[in-house]
């Protein structure tokens, strides 16, 4: 439920398969439950759809930290930018992050996630170089480099000179008995409900996964007045940063390492969760079962990069376990094997918001260096090099980012290598 799964599908005003997690309430709205396969809407008056054509120097797909910073940086260099996001508001994951961010003060560190989003949105909205299309989804790319976008009441065909793809990631799910019972949700979904829309998602919770997401969401549940019974982690050590773990431990939330969730039980919704200890080979230890009375089970078991846009464009991809799944190969300035298609943020490999913002800027600067000339172009190259150096040599030097750094290194290729890849896999679409 970060807007990318089907858990919240309902029939809204007669239209099936509407993602209710991002459908705003309005007067007279009719919402019905749907079960299984629902036939397509019949006899529903959908209203007229206007067709619009747009041109842009840069199209940014996804308005999270990566996309926002890319759009703003490109506008700073005088490019005409269109930024598209399917959600109601720009901001991506930042909207639900009520905790303060790390990093340095220059990189928005110390601000809370949603405050960073507010800051960006304020700057973008007052910039006439940037056109924002929210509640609009990029659904496909066509030969000739035409990008299709469905918005509210409008369909756009956008012809951009370059594209920064920053659609983020989707949450992973987990196999266990009754995992389809209501009350089992993704951690990101709980954050949306609680931190964005102000609704308490349950009374007693069990959180699965002790990465930063699991730890942070547990702290936020505590703040919302939800009792967190435990955080379970299958590995022998806590996945996330110590400081995030210490925050929840001091309020008495246990972190059960070497434990996993086996089943949930309940009528109509979750009433109980069964947790079991595992041995070195992750096999359950008989007799170690524990039951928790909970009405909420949150899964924080990892994210997978959203690779669809890149795969559809025919970009050369590589599967990286360190980055959470398949990602496009890219040069150090984040251009994929599809010329003028860039990747930034979680879609380039799961990392975090600060690195997403830096990547977004590097991609925008590379575009700017091609679409401007003279001193502007050389200033863009200089700025990109500085950011790149900071990203690789300072920020990612942290041992806590070693895994992402290793992953990103393994999918970054030289320009010459990229030309070779291009000649071997000519892409069906092109921009520019």
């Amino acid at each position: 439920m970060i807007g990318k799964c089907s858990s919240c599908f309902m029939i809204v005003d007669g239209v099936p398969n509407v993602k209710t997690c991002r459908e705003p309430v309005r007067e007279g709205l009719v919402v019905e439950r749907q079960r299984g396969w629902v036939p397509p809407a019949g006899g529903v008056e959908l209203g007229g759809v206007e067709n619009r054509e747009l041109e842009a120097d840069l199209l940014v797909v996804g308005g999270g930290p990566a996309g926002l910073s890319a759009a703003l940086k490109a506008a700073e260099y005088g490019l005409d930018v269109v930024i598209v996001d399917e959600h109601l508001r720009l901001g991506g994951q930042l909207l639900k992050q009520t905790h303060k961010f790390f990093g340095s003060v220059e990189l928005f560190g110390g601000l809370r996630g949603f405050q960073i989003a507010e800051e960006y949105i304020r700057k973008l909205e007052s910039n006439e170089k940037v056109k924002v299309l929210s509640q609009s989804a990029v659904y496909g790319v066509f030969r000739g480099g035409l990008v299709g976008v469905v918005g509210r009441g409008a369909h756009y065909a956008i012809r951009p000179k370059s594209v920064v793809g920053s659609p983020g990631a989707s949450e992973r799910y987990l196999d266990f008995v009754n995992n389809d019972l209501p009350g089992v949700i993704g951690a990101g979904g709980a954050q949306t409900i609680m931190n964005e829309f102000g609704v308490k998602p349950g009374e007693r919770a069990l959180v699965v996964g002790s990465g930063n997401v699991g730890l942070i969401v547990s702290y936020q549940l505590l703040q919302a007045g939800v009792r967190v019974e435990a955080i379970v982690e299958i590995l022998p050590e806590i996945g996330g940063w110590f400081v995030h773990a210490a925050k929840v431990r001091r309020y008495g939330i246990p972190i059960l390492t070497r434990h996993t969730l086996r089943a949930v039980y309940g009528n109509e919704r979750v009433e109980e969760a069964e947790v079991v200890e595992v041995d070195e080979r992750f096999n359950p230890i008989p007799g170690s079962e524990k039951r928790f009375e909970v009405d909420l089970v949150l899964l924080a078991v990892g994210l997978e990069p959203d690779f669809r846009l890149f795969a559809q464009c025919g970009a050369a991809m590589k599967w990286s376990p360190d980055l959470g799944g398949p990602v496009p190969l890219r040069t150090s300035d984040l251009e994929t094997s599809v010329r003028n298609l860039y990747v930034a943020g979680d879609a380039s490999g799961i990392e975090e918001a600060t690195t997403a913002m830096i990547e977004g800027q590097i991609a925008a600067l590379s575009t700017a260096s091609k679409l401007t000339d003279g001193s502007r172009a050389s200033r863009a190259i200089e700025e990109a090099e500085k950011l790149s150096k900071f990203l690789w040599d300072e920020y990612r030097a942290s041992p806590l980012l070693a895994r992402a750094r290793r992953g990103k290194l393994s999918v970054t290729v030289s320009r010459e290598e990229m030309e070779r890849i291009r000649s071997l896999n000519p892409s069906p679409v092109s921009f520019g």
Partner: protein, 163 residues
């Protein structure tokens, strides 16, 4: 390499803090308030550094551990307010029959001066009761100073307000 115990438990022991040079000498704490930054991992963060009004916190690279010069530190609590890890505390062992601890607090209800609160250890155990002597706010983080029973100054790391 063996897993450090705090990576298994989420609790850092005093010996570990001392080993990392993150615990002020007891003699210093008996002279008055000083910052204790419980930040043992090389995370990319330096927020506390520019905010310290006396420039008592040193750090070379973004990923280095913060180092407090306790002779410069006045125990003002600014680092407690800004640290995104909620890892900064101020400890004062100068009292005759009580200690003082300053902790970050982001839960409702907000503790009020004079109020009695439950004291929590690093592992969340309820280890006593204390009285709030100061509380101020910065960007929604409350910085709460509590008077605690003598001996608990290096143990208390959170307060709980009974609703």
């Amino acid at each position: 390499m063996a897993i450090r115990s705090y990576r298994r438990t989420g609790v850092v022991e005093l010996e570990e803090l001392a080993r990392l040079n993150m615990l002020p000498p007891e003699e210093r704490l008996r002279r008055g308030p000083a910052a204790v930054l419980e930040c043992p991992e090389m995370i990319p963060c330096n927020i506390c550094v520019p905010y310290c009004p006396t420039r008592a916190i040193g750090m070379e690279r973004l990923i280095d551990l913060p180092v407090v010069d306790w002779e410069r530190c006045t125990g003002c609590g600014m680092c407690v307010a800004v640290c995104p890890g909620l890892a900064a505390f101020v400890v004062d062992l100068s009292g005759e029959d009580c200690d003082y601890v300053t902790v970050p607090h982001e839960l409702l209800p907000v503790p009020r001066v004079g109020e009695e609160v439950i004291l929590l250890s690093r592992r969340g155990e309820r280890i006593g009761r204390g009285t709030v002597v100061r509380a101020w706010e910065r960007n929604r983080t409350y910085v709460v100073t509590v008077r605690v029973p003598k001996g608990l100054g290096t143990e208390v790391r959170a307060v709980w307000v009974e609703k």
